[in-house]
Each structure stands twice: as C-alpha cells, then as structure tokens.
C-alpha cells in the first residue's frame, strides 16, 4: 500500500511540518509495504524537492500552472485525488492545518475514502486500519477505523518525530487537468516579514495577569531574545491590548510549538485546548492554584513585574552561552 503525501510549499519552500509529514508517510508506507510519494502544487526548485527525499519520498510529483495560483480547495482536491489514483496510492496523507482541513474532506469524497482528521500516531493496525486521534479537544483519545479501501489521514502537528531516511528519488511533473475555478480571490493582504505564530517553535504568550496593554515591552523583548512569536489569551485580545491575530485557544489559533510560555494566563480550559499540543508549557502566575499549573511542565509562582525582567536577563545570558 503506497502513501501519497501532499506537501504544501510556501512560496517554493518547505517547512519543518512538511518533513514531519514525509517522515510519517515513509514510516507508514514501510508498515504497509509500499512507497511514499510526495505531491506539491506550485513551482518548487529541484534542490528543494530533493529535501523531501531526505525524509523518504521516493517520488516527488509537482503540479504547476496558473490554475493553481490560488488555493481553490476543489481544484487542489481534484489534483491530489488524481495523483493518488494515477500512482496507485490507497492512502492519502496531509497536514491537519488550514490547507489540509480545506482539501482533505474533498479528497475523501472524491476517492470514497474514510477520513481521520488529526492522527497522532502511525496506524495501530492495517487490517483493520485503525489510527489514533484526540477527541473532545484532547480530553480523550479515540481509535478510529477506516473501513473503505481508500483512506485519507491528516496528521496533527508535532505528533511525529522528523526522521531522516535518505532515498533515491525521481521528480516528475504531474498534469492534473484543472477544471474551471468557481472561486475568485479579489484581494490578498499578507504580512511576510513577521514570524508566524502557527510556525513558531517558541511562543511567548501573555494573559490578563499582564495587567495592561502597556506592559508588553518585556514580553516582546523575551520573545525577541528567544526568536519566539508572541501570543495572548482571549481576554487580552477582547480588551484590545493585543490584536485578535495573536489570540490562541479553542476559539483562536491552535498552536503546537516546542515551548509555550504562558505568562499571567490562568489557564481556562478553552485556552489550554489551543496550546495543549505544545511539547513543553511553562507557566508564570501569582496564583499557585491557577489551573494553568495542571497543564504546565514547569512553573514559577511570582509577580510578572519582577519575574519577567529576570526571564529576559536569563534568556540573554542563556543565549550568550549557547
């Protein structure tokens, strides 16, 4: 059983999450006795495509053409499904991110395939095909069986270790025969020079305990020293202390960095739902009973007014020594 892995590219470049996906596809195709075949849409230089082979993709298909300039889920899904069929792949894999969530359900219908959204591990078994995922926002774990011959799986972020598995690869152009688009993008408004919250490996986030929107200087400095993105809890964006773009939580952005610093965030269940996939959570709060300490790996009880400047100093010292 071969796996077709859809690897999104960002202006011709892959990201860590792309390599995570290919590593997973390689491991899964190994389990299933097939190959991992990658597909990307848009112009990507050959040396960039070759990176996917470092993680185990034996073939890399590219779809190019003006029809795919905008991400129209219908066209992209059609392309992914066509590539899976043309290459005999019964399993289609993609990221459980914005783009994957847009495309995967459509691919599933095209291929009459069962879909598991947000898998957190390799298949537990192949016959029956059973995959683990979080349910009830991480409050329980479910094992979901796909009963159809074709299968679509989206992988939750940070669920699989990146593993190098260099293989020989071929690059091919794939012609997916694009249909006419039924959507029209009339304007694009995009900031390109800022580290994206959803990409950041370190996130420094402030809550109501920051007391005022004017107190964000040291938090931004800490983020700057660590090369981190900044975020906030819902009350902070509702108060207008920070932009809604920064709100993480169940109704905001869902993120999964390596380290999440929760500064002055009490840790309401809705907030934790948005950050619980972080590898490590560090919490600083004046209240030792704050629920955030139940979700955190490391905690400091103290006033941010004194603790945050110390964190900035220690982060600088740490960076200077490493």
């Amino acid at each position: 059983m071969s796996v077709l892995v859809y690897t999104e590219n960002w202006d011709g470049k892959f990201k860590k999450s792309s390599f995570e996906l290919v590593s997973y596809a390689h491991a899964m195709s190994g389990q299933a006795g097939g190959e991992a075949i990658a597909l990307t849409i848009g112009e990507v230089a050959n040396e960039e495509l070759e990176k996917l082979a470092q993680y185990g993709a034996t073939k890399v298909l590219s779809i190019v053409g003006d029809a795919y300039k905008e991400m129209d889920a219908a066209l992209y899904a059609q392309a992914v499904a066509a590539a899976a069929q043309a290459n005999g792949c019964e399993i289609v894999l993609m990221a459980n991110n914005n783009e994957g969530k847009g495309i995967a359900p459509r691919v599933a219908v095209k291929l009459k395939a069962g879909l598991v959204s947000g898998a957190t591990a390799l298949a537990q078994s192949f016959d029956p095909f059973v995959v683990r995922k979080n349910v009830f926002n991480g409050k329980a774990i479910g094992y979901q069986q796909i009963k159809s011959a074709n299968k679509v799986v989206t992988l939750a972020q940070n669920s699989f270790e990146i593993m190098e598995n260099p293989v020989a690869f071929v690059a091919e152009i794939f012609d997916a025969d694009a249909a006419e688009s039924k959507t029209n993008v009339s304007a694009v408004d995009k900031v390109t020079d800022k580290l994206l919250l959803t990409d950041a490996e370190i996130v420094v986030s402030g809550g109501r305990g920051m007391k005022s929107g004017d107190n964000w200087g040291p938090l931004e400095e800490l983020a700057n020293v660590l090369g981190a993105a900044t975020a906030c809890s819902r009350p902070v964006s509702d108060e207008g202390w920070r932009s809604h773009e920064e709100h993480v939580g169940q109704t905001g952005k869902i993120i999964a960095p390596d380290v999440y610093f929760a500064l002055g965030i009490s840790g309401a269940i809705q907030h934790i739902a948005g950050v619980s996939s972080s590898k490590v959570i560090v919490a600083v709060n004046t209240d030792p009973e704050a629920p955030v300490f139940e979700a955190a790996d490391y905690g400091i009880i103290g006033d941010l007014k004194t603790v945050l400047p110390r964190m900035v100093e220690e982060a600088k010292a740490f960076k200077a020594n490493s």
């Binding site: 889920a73 459509r106 094992y143 995009k190 490590v280 603790v307 010292a317």
Partner: protein, 249 residues
C-alpha cells in the same frame, strides 16, 4: 437568498469526559448538550447578515443529523433567530455519512450559502463542510474569518498564513468558518424562546449511505507528570531545565 447553517449537537465544553466500562464508547449520562460553539457563531453571523440585507436574505435554516434527543438544541437555534429547522432522523455515525445526508437534502432544497463551523468539539472532525461541498460539486472556502453581503454577493475573508484573502464564489457555496466570524454568540431572548416553539421543525428520513469510519475504542490520556516548580528567585534554573532536561531550547 437563503442561508443554511449546519449545527452539531455536542457536550458542553466544560464536560468531564468519562468512558463506558468496555472503553468502546463515551459515557454521555448527565451531559449538558449545546450547539457546537463554532456553529453557534456561524448562526450569529448568519442572523446579522440577514438583518443587514434589507430583505435580500429572507431565510435562515438550521440543519442537523441526529435522533429526536437533539431537538432541544435545534429549538435553541430557533430561539436565537433561525426561521426553521431540519432534523435528518438518524444517528450521525461519521463525517462522510453526515455530509452525504445533508447533501441529499440540499439537492431537494437548494440554498445559496451553506455555513459549517471549522470543527465540532466532540470528535474533532473538521470535515463535514468540505465533504458536503464535494458531494454538491460546489466551491468551498475554508478558514473563513468573516462573511459580508455586498450588493447581491457573499464576500468572504479567508485566513491564510500571515494574513487573509478576500474571496467570492459561485452559488451554492460552502463557507467553513472559524475565529473572527462573530465575537460572541447571540443569546436567545425570552421573545425568541416563545417564538421558537411555533417555528417549523421538519423531520426528514435519512437516505441509505454507508459510513466509512468508526471509533473502535477510546482511552483516557495518560496523566501528565506534575508541574515542576522553579523558584522565582532562580529563573536561571528554568532555562537550565528547558535546555538540559526538556531539550527544547
């Protein structure tokens, strides 16, 4: 113009999840059922659009796939302001099954705009909107953070990495909505609750379709090791732990 809002009936966010003894299902006794939070925001935005459209949007319908027990949730949506409700009378077994049922209904009863929330807070599928669009061969716009009604067209803001796109589409279209679509869900007023009792709630028979997935068992997450406290006077220790023990810095 008519808007269809797809509603999922889910346990309240603060519900403590327990499994049944055989671990094959979740114990739902005593659970407080609510409209899935995203769907509630979608309905709120649909109401605002209708009110601002000067009569051009004349009907908002809520639809769900579920047994009779989900009707209080539909009544709540009617109390918020939906004009009528549709319940497809069957157990919502998986996303594919649910989307196929709603698609069949839409083939009989077309709507210009269909809205679904990005994810239901029970099985976290994120799939019904996209599947529905594919069944209907209709465009789907995902990650929608705002919908406006300009002239005679729905204009959507779609969140992309680092910004957003402004998107229009041929009708019928499916919008999968997320953060930003409405700030707070609309709470039903007493008048709305009274009126909801009289609004039509249509029950439709399901069509025969096979579900393609099934949850075979569940388990509770392993308890996390307790938080390791670091003295506020010794912040250097925090960075040492993050570097040497957690190996994330």
């Amino acid at each position: 113009m008519k808007i269809l809002v797809c509603i999922s009936n889910v346990p309240d966010t603060t519900t403590k999840i327990k499994l049944n003894g055989d671990q094959k299902s979740v114990d739902m006794t005593g659970v407080q059922w609510v409209i899935n939070p995203w769907d509630e925001l979608a309905l709120t935005r649909a109401m605002e659009l209708k009110e601002q459209s000067g009569g051009k949007i004349d009907k908002i319908t809520v639809i769900t796939v579920g047994e009779k027990t989900v009707e209080p949730t539909l009544r709540k949506a009617l109390a918020v302001g939906a004009d009528n409700a549709v319940r497809i009378d069957t157990v919502p077994t998986d996303d594919y099954y649910v989307a196929a049922q709603i698609a069949e209904y839409l083939k009989k009863e077309p709507y210009e705009l269909i809205i679904t929330g990005i994810e239901s807070s029970d099985y976290n599928g994120s799939a019904v909107g996209g599947m529905l669009a594919e069944f209907l061969d209709a465009p789907s716009i995902s990650s929608v953070s705002n919908i406006s009604f300009e002239g005679d067209a729905f204009v959507m803001k779609k969140a992309i990495d680092g910004g957003n796109e402004t998107v229009t589409a041929d009708t019928p279209m499916v919008a999968v909505v997320q953060k930003g679509i409405a700030i707070d869900p609309r709470i039903p007023a007493m008048r709305g609750i009274m009126m909801a009792r009289k609004k039509p709630l249509l029950v439709e028979a399901p069509v025969e379709i096979e579900a393609l997935t099934e949850f075979v068992n569940f388990e509770m997450p392993k308890p996390k090791p307790p938080v390791k406290m670091v003295d506020a006077e010794n912040v250097a220790e925090l960075f040492r732990l993050l570097h040497e023990e957690a190996k994330v810095l």
